[in-house]
Symmetry: C2
Subunit: 334 residues, 2 copies
Amino acid sequence: MDLKASLLAAPGPQQRRAIAKAITLLESTRADHRARADELLTELLPHTGKSFRLGISGVPGVGKSTFIEALGLALIGQGHRVAVLAIDPSSSVSGGSILGDKTRMEQLSIHPQAYIRPSPSSGTLGGVAAKTREAMLVCEAAGYDLVIVETVGVGQSETAVAGMTDMFVLLQLPNAGDDLQAIKKGVMELADLVVINKADIDRDAATRAQAQITSALRILGQHGRPDHAQHDATLWHAQVLQLSALKAQGIDAFWQAVTRFRGLQEGSGRLAARRRQQALAWMWERIESGLRQAFRQHPQVKSLLPQITRDVEHGRLAASTAARQLLQVMRPGH
Amino acid sequence: MDLKASLLAAPGPQQRRAIAKAITLLESTRADHRARADELLTELLPHTGKSFRLGISGVPGVGKSTFIEALGLALIGQGHRVAVLAIDPSSSVSGGSILGDKTRMEQLSIHPQAYIRPSPSSGTLGGVAAKTREAMLVCEAAGYDLVIVETVGVGQSETAVAGMTDMFVLLQLPNAGDDLQAIKKGVMELADLVVINKADIDRDAATRAQAQITSALRILGQHGRPDHAQHDATLWHAQVLQLSALKAQGIDAFWQAVTRFRGLQEGSGRLAARRRQQALAWMWERIESGLRQAFRQHPQVKSLLPQITRDVEHGRLAASTAARQLLQVMRPGH
């Protein structure tokens, strides 16, 4: 049975092997693999898009793995199939951190109705995100109806995850007063839902954090960054929930909020619009990344760039003049 | 006397005409004008950089013109020379709004120690911002020691202005509770200083707004968006001031805050670093804009793009596959 057929067949060890094989193909840098991967993706596309795509972010220590394990097991208990993918821009440096160790989701990782894939461990953030986005399509074609994309709350990866999911959830610790400072600017406003985890440790702190974050979200406004597809502010205001993943408290309320959000987004046509926008934004992101790469690899640009960069830094050359000079060498016939 | 000499000569009607002529040259789309403009810019560069560059933004009606007029006249009274430039991304559509009508700064516009230039009225935001950035260099070479770059609080222009100035000031109205909603996400966090204008109209509301915005800034953190050069958070926390531009109340306190900020930034080397970062970011912004333009104008891309865009939108083609297909046609020898 070929790869596509195995992916679309019934769940089981063979399908699981096919998923792993397909994702390995997508992650390969060999041109012939890439061509086969593109062919496979195009064939799989009609079978994708039926899952709900949930993005989850939070700083290290906030309890993402515990939360995803508790959520995943609860949903599998309700008959769902759950895929968990990760984007970790630091993994190419550190050799993999989040999900690198599957034992962090001990029960979920061995469950037959779950599929867990660590972050691709090489490439730029754009490249890593591209692989994860494609891996998401493979999991959808294989019938996983909830795809969770996890990322750490450092770097630019939250934007990438919010840009490929239907709902973006930010996990927070109860000590908001101190730790809100640690949230990268621009991340809070991507959130469709904020979850204060470990709320059982200090109920008062969690309640204060809930109030503070609710107020911050209100002040930030509910419009979404203009460059990101978000929810419809007339239908949904980003909520703040408390829960304890470790004690499996609040998981039901969380899932109810997700379900309500999904219903509103689907009913208003906003889910489909968000996906269309995401796909187009993604195409352009990849095009621009490819153009930048071709530019930087051009022999003449390579030889001129260091000196021109120094001249611009030291104010000997206007930035716009420098740009025009460098673009000039890319012109055909130059 | 040639253009460069007239620009560097003593202030007066001749210099004023030279500035206007140089900026017109920079704004021209003719290739020979552009070449001469680049030459002029490179010659002027050693004479630039000595001014303080102040970015000012706020929604229509917040009183930007009144504020700039009050500030400009006060500073001219202290011996400064003040240039005011505008970036209005909507001016190419509307035919010019901010500064289009110089009578909005009645006294400042006719003052011999002030130079006011409306927004370039055609081009993309990137193009308009490029012209304004170059016009800023012309004004600096002509000895204006304060350059104000004004923009409206709509569109993406605040990011462009924050990316070309030493300090970014956001003007707000006293009714923050309602109107903070109208601040585009990501703008508040660009601010080095927030000014609540028209504070005399409702002192209580202004004081509430001041508290709310101070709290929002604290929650947002003081780290600056990673993609923007900002102030050093260990030295400066974005402040919130009340003033009334119409009654010329609070202008002194505002200028004291600017002066203190400038001193800290200069003393810590952060001003120079911010300018270096801005110049490099600007060069890359212009390069990427040029690459995008060349891509979109490529005949094969032009013919393929509409169908590929529809295929991606309707889920018939994966976004990354589409990007690879389009990049393929740009390859030499294809």
